[in-house]
């Protein structure tokens, strides 16, 4: 069995998801004693191929067309590579860009697609483990097909290490330019404020549990008492209660403070991706089953409207 992994890069840098995919791909290839092939499309593919040549990689295919991610180019290139390599499983990142082309590739190749895998197994066939209902349950999916595509959750597998001796070959994809009907015109950093939360030593971070904008006052009071900076999870920023550059998470900032106090934050995987590198994580949430307690070092399972003012009082 061959596993084909498609790497991801942005603005000249290979993304961590690529090296995680190598680990995930090797796990799946090992389950059947198969080979691990890697594809890298667009940009400086030679340099990316060097970085992807890690232990356990058998072959790297480079497709030089395009500079940056364009889903029309990626869809065509990966479709053609899939037909040339004939893998049993195609692994793609469950990233924003992965979700922008993986479904199109699967549809064109008429193979099943399972997204956001957190684990998989290959026995009689492919079984994929994924989560539902905001990570409250896990479910397994059996895939009854000779070939399939799976997108892999970021940061779920460790990054591949070591140096490999993979063959590196240029793949000559025939890109139909008339089918390229989207154009990436640039990039923009999100902003809105003048504070960089990724510099803060102590973050008081607030989530949906705060319920109303006016209630943010108790968060600001606590942050002031602790000489800390206020950050937030996605819903607070979506509501316009804090500027975009205060958002912690996959689509916001990645933060690594000494202390991160998560208040009324359930701990969705997208949020955790942005803050799990904090030295000490404290969670205050009235739902004892909230996923945030799985990664917290210290927790209070109680009503934040009682605990937060009491905590502020301790420092006044």
């Amino acid at each position: 069995m061959t596993v084909l992994v498609v790497a991801e890069h942005r603005r000249g840098e290979l993304r961590d998801a690529s090296l995680e995919l190598l680990t995930a791909g090797r796990q799946l290839a090992d389950a059947t004693g198969g080979e691990l092939h890697v594809a890298v499309v667009s940009g400086d593919v030679e340099s990316y191929a060097d970085q992807l040549n890690r232990e356990g990689v058998d072959a790297i295919h480079t497709v030089a067309d395009g500079e940056e991610f364009n889903h029309d180019v990626y869809t065509q290139a990966v479709e053609q590579l899939f037909e040339a390599v004939e893998p049993t499983v195609l692994l793609l990142p469950n990233s924003v860009n992965g979700l922008d082309y993986a479904p199109a590739v699967a549809e064109r190749l008429d193979i099943p697609l399972v997204t956001d895998a957190v684990d998989f197994d290959y026995g009689d066939g492919l079984t994929v483990t994924r989560e539902m209902y905001g990570s409250k349950v896990e479910t397994t999916m059996d895939v009854d097909a000779p070939q399939a595509a799976v997108t892999v959750r970021p940061a779920e597998w460790p990054k591949a290490e070591g140096t490999g001796d993979a063959t590196v070959e240029a793949f000559d994809a025939a890109i139909d330019e008339s089918a390229v009907r989207s154009t990436v015109t640039g990039y923009q950093e999100v902003g809105g404020g003048d504070i960089d939360i990724s510099d803060a030593d102590v973050l008081v971070s607030v989530g949906r549990g705060i319920e109303e904008e006016d209630n943010l006052d108790i968060i600001h009071d606590l942050a002031e008492a602790l000489d800390a900076t206020v950050s937030a999870s996605r819903p607070i920023v979506d509501n316009g209660w804090l500027p975009k550059d205060r958002q912690v998470g996959q689509s916001g900032k990645v933060v690594t403070p000494d202390v991160y106090i998560a208040i009324g934050i359930s701990g969705a995987v997208q949020h955790v991706a942005g803050m799990k590198g904090a030295d000490t994580i404290v969670a205050i949430n009235n739902d004892p089953n909230a996923p945030i307690f799985d990664i917290a070092d210290y927790g209070i399972q109680d009503d934040l409207f009682d605990v937060v003012p009491a905590l502020t009082e301790q420092f006044s």
């Binding site: 697609l113 479910t139 602790l226 996959q250």
Partner: protein, 261 residues
């Protein structure tokens, strides 16, 4: 111009729940309009309000129970709704993105919209793949995870929200399927007048046969084989007691960590 918005009713799970076979017992579920679809509806209604002669039609694959949710979308300004369902779909269990896209494609063939807006993902099964699969089936362009949209005559200029606080600026040829991210707008609450009007708006129910499909479309290579509560990996020290007591314990820890000193 006609905008088709895919709308789904999703279930949220209570803090405490029991698994019943391959599902969660209905007692522990609360149903509501999918959060991402709420933003997609708002975006469509804003386009309609800004332009002349724009019709907003919602399409839902879901049972009769979903009609309260569909009426919410109508109350927020959609003009009419289509709901696809029959006994065969009900018996099919989990619908994977490929199956859902085929059902929606059949509705698109009849409705012939100029633009399709879809939520990035559904809050329950969270596949995040139906919109792009549908675009590919239709041979249309698409953009996933859109958090800013400007509509031209032939092109949609969008921002795609990438990871790490970066947005990609992209031009996409129309017709297109755009999957809408939360935060793109500020979804309105349904007004009392809107809720009253929604009761009068058309909500057409269509079976597989009505949309020109037979039950083969429901044969999925993906089968759900288990559902369970994951074991907690938590090793957190949990402070017990009243709010004053736990706050005092936490304050002591924070001082030890050098906070506020």
């Amino acid at each position: 111009m006609k905008i088709l918005v895919t709308v789904k009713e999703v279930a949220a799970v209570d803090d405490e729940f029991e698994v019943d076979g391959l599902a969660i017992d209905d007692r522990y579920l609360t149903y509501d309009l999918n959060e991402w679809d709420e933003y997609a509806i708002e975006e469509a209604v804003q386009i309609a309000e800004a332009g002349e002669d724009v019709e907003v039609v919602t399409v839902t694959v879901g049972p009769e129970d979903a009609e309260d949710t569909i009426r919410q979308a109508l109350a927020k300004g959609a003009d009419r709704a289509i709901r696809v369902w029959d006994d065969a779909i009900a018996e099919a269990g989990l619908l994977d993105p490929g199956t859902k896209a085929q059902l929606l494609e059949a509705v698109v063939a009849t409705e012939e919209p100029d633009l399709i807006l879809s939520g990035v993902q559904a809050g329950d099964d969270a596949f995040g793949a139906t919109g792009v699969t549908l675009a590919s089936r239709l041979g249309w362009e698409w953009a996933a995870v859109v958090n800013d949209l400007e509509l031209g005559d032939d092109v949609a200029t969008v921002h795609r929200e990438l990871e790490g606080g970066v947005e990609e600026l992209t031009d996409v040829e129309l017709p297109a399927v755009l999957t809408i991210q939360t935060g793109i707008n500020d979804p309105r609450y349904a007004s009392l007048r809107g809720i009253r009007q929604a009761q009068q708006k058309e909500l057409a129910v269509q079976s597989l046969a009505d949309v020109g499909l037979d039950s083969d479309v429901l044969d999925s290579p993906i089968e759900q084989t288990s559902l369970y509560e994951p074991e907690s990996e938590g090793e957190a020290t949990i402070y017990e007691g009243s709010a004053d007591e736990t706050a005092a314990d936490l304050a002591e820890l924070l001082r030890e960590q050098g906070v506020a000193q």
